[in-house]
C-alpha cells in the first residue's frame, strides 16, 4: 500500500493541478511585481507588464533568471520581503563564483519541510521511523531540509550532520535508525565501513534518501546491497528552496516534482525555446508560493526530461529523470552527450578521487576521449596485473555509463593541476 504525506495534492488529477498552479502563479506574479524590484526591473526591461500575464499560459513571455542575475545583485538578489519577515538564510557552496544567498520566511520553511516530508513518506517512512540525517548542517540546505521534513512527519530525527563515521555507526546501531539521508558517496562510504566492521546484522535500516550529487544506477544497487535498504533519489537547489523540489517514489524511475509549489519547464538551452514534454533540455523552475525569495523561470542548467506517464505509485505529479549533468559542461563526443559529472560519479564509485582530466581529440575524423585519473595510495599495489585489472574495470564502468569507449590513463598523484576554484577538467583539442 502506497502512503502519501499529502494524498489529495499528490494524487490530484492533472487538470486540477494545472488549475491550482494557475491560481498560485498569478498570485506569485502579483507578489513579485509589487515586492521584488530586481525581477520587476527585468520584466520592464523586457517590455512586459503584470497586465500581460493573464494565466500560466503566458509564462513564456517572462524573462529567465540565471545564476548570474542572482550573483549580480548579491547579497539581496530577488529579495521580496523585508528582512524582518525573514527567519533564515541558506547559501550555495560558491564553487563556481560568488555565493548565492536564499532567504526564507517561516511560510517558505514550512513549504520546504512539507516537500521533504513527502519525500520521506514516498521512501516508506512514517512517524514510527528513526531518521538519521547525515547531510551537512549549516549554510548547505541538505541537513536542514531533511531535518525539517522528518520533524514535520513526526519521526524521531537524529541530526548527525556529515562526517565522524564511528559516531554515525554507533548512533545508527544503538538508536536503531531505519532511514538514512546523506549524499550517495557518503552512503557508499558508510556501506564500506559497515562491511569492514562486520556490523551489518546490527542495522535496522530499510530506506535511504540520497541527493546533492550525481550518482549512477550501478551505485544505487551497490548502496542498496551494502546497507540492505531501498535507495531513493531526491533533487533540489538552494535557489529553488533546497532538497525536495522533486523526490523519488517506490517505482524508482524518476522524481516527482512538487507541482503545487514549483512549475517546471524544459527549454532548449541555446535558444530558450520551450520544448514539448518528453524532450531532453534544460530544466527551468518557477516558484508558485514562495514569499522571501521567489524565483521566476530560474534556469537550473540541469539537463533532463519531464514525463507525465502514469506512475504505479499513484502520484500524478510530473516526473523528471535524473539530470544527466549541467548544460554548460556538456560535451558531444562521437555524437553522444557526455557530462563530466557522469565520469566523476564513476570514478567515485570505483574508489578513485574526483580529480580527473578529460582530453577530447579528433583522430582520423573520429572523436577520442582520454580520461586521466590520479593513482591513490589506497588503490596502489605492487602487482602490475592487479593495477591493469583495476584499469580494465574502470574502462568497463565508463563504457556502461557513457555508452562510448574512453581510454584511461593512470597518472601520478597531484599531477592534475588544481586551480583555486574549479580544476581544468576538460581539454578539447578538436578543431571543428
Amino acid at each position: 500500500m502506497e502512503n502519501y504525506y499529502s494524498k489529495e495534492i499528490e494524487t490530484m488529477p492533472v487538470e486540477q493541478i494545472r488549475e491550482l498552479q494557475n491560481e498560485k502563479f498569478l498570485k506569485q506574479m502579483q507578489h513579485v511585481w509589487n515586492d521584488c524590484p530586481d525581477y520587476r526591473a527585468k520584466m520592464e526591461k523586457a517590455g512586459i507588464s503584470i497586465d500581460d500575464i493573464k494565466s500560466l499560459d503566458d509564462i513564456g513571455k517572462l524573462p529567465f533568471i540565471t545564476k548570474d542575475d542572482l550573483r549580480e545583485h548579491y547579497p539581496y538578489a530577488m529579495l521580496a520581503k523585508p528582512l524582518s519577515e525573514c527567519v533564515r538564510i541558506h547559501s550555495t557552496s560558491g564553487t563556481t563564483g560568488k555565493r548565492v544567498i536564499a532567504y526564507y520566511t517561516q511560510h517558505d520553511i514550512d513549504l520546504w519541510d512539507e516537500c521533504c516530508a513527502r519525500a520521506l513518506v514516498a521512501a516508506g517512512a512514517t512517524k514510527e521511523d528513526v531518521v538519521q540525517v547525515s547531510y551537512g548542517f549549516g549554510l548547505f540546505t541538505g541537513g536542514a531540509g531533511l531535518n525539517g521534513g522528518s520533524h514535520k512527519l513526526g519521526s524521531l530525527t537524529l541530526p548527525m550532520s556529515s562526517g565522524n563515521t564511528d559516531r554515525q555507526l554507533q548512533f545508527m546501531i544503538d538508536l536503531g535508525a531505519t532511514v538514512i539521508c546523506c549524499t550517495p558517496s557518503y552512503a557508499a562510504y558508510l556501506a564500506e565501513s559497515i562491511k569492514e566492521r562486520g556490523v551489518r546484522d546490527q542495522l535496522k535500516l530499510k530506506a535511504g534518501i540520497f541527493g546533492a550529487e550525481a550518482w549512477s544506477e550501478e551505485m544505487r544497487r551497490d548502496i542498496e546491497a551494502g546497507l540492505g535498504i531501498k535507495a531513493f533519489d531526491i533533487y533540489g537547489l538552494t535557489e529553488i528552496s533546497g532538497p525536495g523540489v522533486s523526490y523519488e517514489c517506490s517505482e524508482q524511475t524518476g522524481m516527482h516534482i512538487n507541482e503545487d509549489h514549483f512549475y517546471a519547464e524544459i527549454i532548449d538551452p541555446d535558444t530558450g525555446e520551450v520544448l514539448p514534454e518528453g524532450s531532453e533540455g534544460e530544466l527551468v523552475f518557477t516558484s508558485l508560493d514562495k514569499e522571501a525569495f521567489p524565483v521566476i523561470r530560474y534556469r537550473t542548467k540541469d539537463i533532463c526530461v519531464l514525463t507525465r506517464k502514469a506512475c504505479s505509485c499513484g502520484r500524478t505529479f510530473i516526473k523528471m529523470v535524473k539530470p544527466r549533468g549541467r548544460s554548460d559542461d556538456m560535451l558531444i563526443i562521437k555524437g553522444v552527450n557526455v557530462f563530466p559529472s557522469q565520469i566523476e560519479a564513476v570514478l567515485l564509485e570505483q574508489g578513485y578521487q574526483a580529480n580527473y582530466q578529460l582530453i577530447v581529440d579528433r583522430v582520423n575524423n573520429s572523436d577520442t576521449l582520454d580520461v586521466n585519473v590520479e593513482m591513490t595510495p589506497e588503490k596502489f599495489t605492487d602487482n602490475l596485473g592487479e593495477i591493469a585489472d583495476m584499469e580494465k574495470k574502470l574502462v568497463g564502468a565508463l563504457k556502461a555509463m557513457l555508452g562510448i569507449f574512453a581510454k584511461v590513463h593512470l597518472v601520478a598523484p597531484k599531477s592534475i593541476t588544481r586551480s583555486e576554484g574549479k580544476a581544468v577538467r576538460v581539454i578539447d583539442k578538436r578543431k571543428i
Binding site: 605492487d382 590513463h409 593512470l410 597518472v411 601520478a412 598523484p413
Partner: protein, 127 residues
C-alpha cells in the same frame, strides 16, 4: 632473508625516475637494488634501501604513491649454473615466482637476488 621493499608508482614520462632517485639522494638514502615493471602509461619502481623508514617518509612527503611489501633476498653462488640450481629447487617445491631481480649488494662469490613469491616461508625453508 625477508626484507622490506618499497614500490613507487611512476608515470611514464621524462625525468620521472630521476625525480625519485633525487628525493632519495637528497635524504642520503642508499639504493641497494632497483627494478622497474612498466606498461605504456605507467610503471612500478621497486627498490631496496638501507633506511626504509626514512625513504618512505621522504617519498610520501614528496607526494609519491608507495607501498611497502616483504620480499625474499636469496644469496646465489656467483658461478655458472648457480641461478639455475636455485630456480630448480623453487620449481620443485611448487613455489610461484611473481617477479625477481638482482641487487648490487653482492660479493665476488655470491650474487644476492630479490624474489617475490607466493609462499615465502617455504622459500626460506628450502634455500
Amino acid at each position: 632473508m625477508t626484507v622490506k621493499q618499497i614500490s613507487v608508482f611512476l608515470e611514464n614520462r621524462y625525468g620521472q625516475l630521476h625525480e625519485i632517485t633525487n628525493i632519495l639522494a637528497e635524504a642520503g638514502v642508499d639504493l641497494k637494488a632497483l627494478n622497474i615493471a612498466e606498461t605504456t602509461d605507467y610503471g612500478i619502481v621497486r627498490i631496496l634501501v638501507d633506511d626504509v623508514p626514512k625513504a618512505t617518509d621522504v617519498l610520501i612527503g614528496a607526494g609519491c604513491v608507495i607501498s611497502v611489501n616483504p620480499v625474499q633476498v636469496i644469496a646465489v653462488p656467483n658461478k655458472s649454473g648457480g641461478l639455475n640450481e636455485v630456480l630448480g629447487k623453487i620449481a620443485e617445491a611448487n613455489i610461484d615466482i611473481e617477479y625477481m631481480y638482482s641487487t648490487v649488494d653482492g660479493k665476488d662469490d655470491v650474487a644476492k637476488l630479490v624474489f617475490k613469491v607466493d609462499k615465502p616461508e617455504e622459500l626460506e625453508k628450502i634455500l
